[in-house]
Symmetry: C2
Subunit: 79 residues, 2 copies
Amino acid sequence: MTVDRDSMEPIYQQVARLMRARIDSGEWPPGYRLPSEPDLAGSYQVNRDTLRKSVRVLVDEGHLAVVRGKGTFVIKPEG
Amino acid sequence: MTVDRDSMEPIYQQVARLMRARIDSGEWPPGYRLPSEPDLAGSYQVNRDTLRKSVRVLVDEGHLAVVRGKGTFVIKPEG
DNA sequence: AAATATTTGTACGTATGTATG
DNA sequence: GCATACATACGTACAAATATT
């Protein structure tokens, strides 16, 4: 062992975890439109590019859907 | 009709097409390691970030595999 | 209808970190 | 240790789709 490995997690994954928690907890319910990317980036103190990486993770997981010009929405269970 | 729509294609997709063509043509055969991202970015006259988007497209299509620290490789038919 | 504002998408530039050779 | 190659992160600007006034 090389002492304490795997304690590093990229920021965008950390943010993705935080956002996932808000979805799972119901704070961001199905159909909810998230704050804008610049707003979220500000909230999490990260760059917009980094935030968008986090969003992509959740989109890939099927938790979020992004619609250009409209916003980012929490996916509903059925669809 | 709104006159000639859909004639706009993002640069990263254009580059993805060019790269796909080189794979399909056999210029980049299975197992081949592509030039480095900075080199490819220079060849196609785009930013490295843009080139990485193109690569992601081909990875998602199953044409390429990216290995950190090693390079980007053309996927072999079988695996 | 038209102009404006909002929101996501694309593109470039730069710096630093991590994995591999 | 050093060089190479991919990964992450930040900043900036403008384009495109949508919504609002």
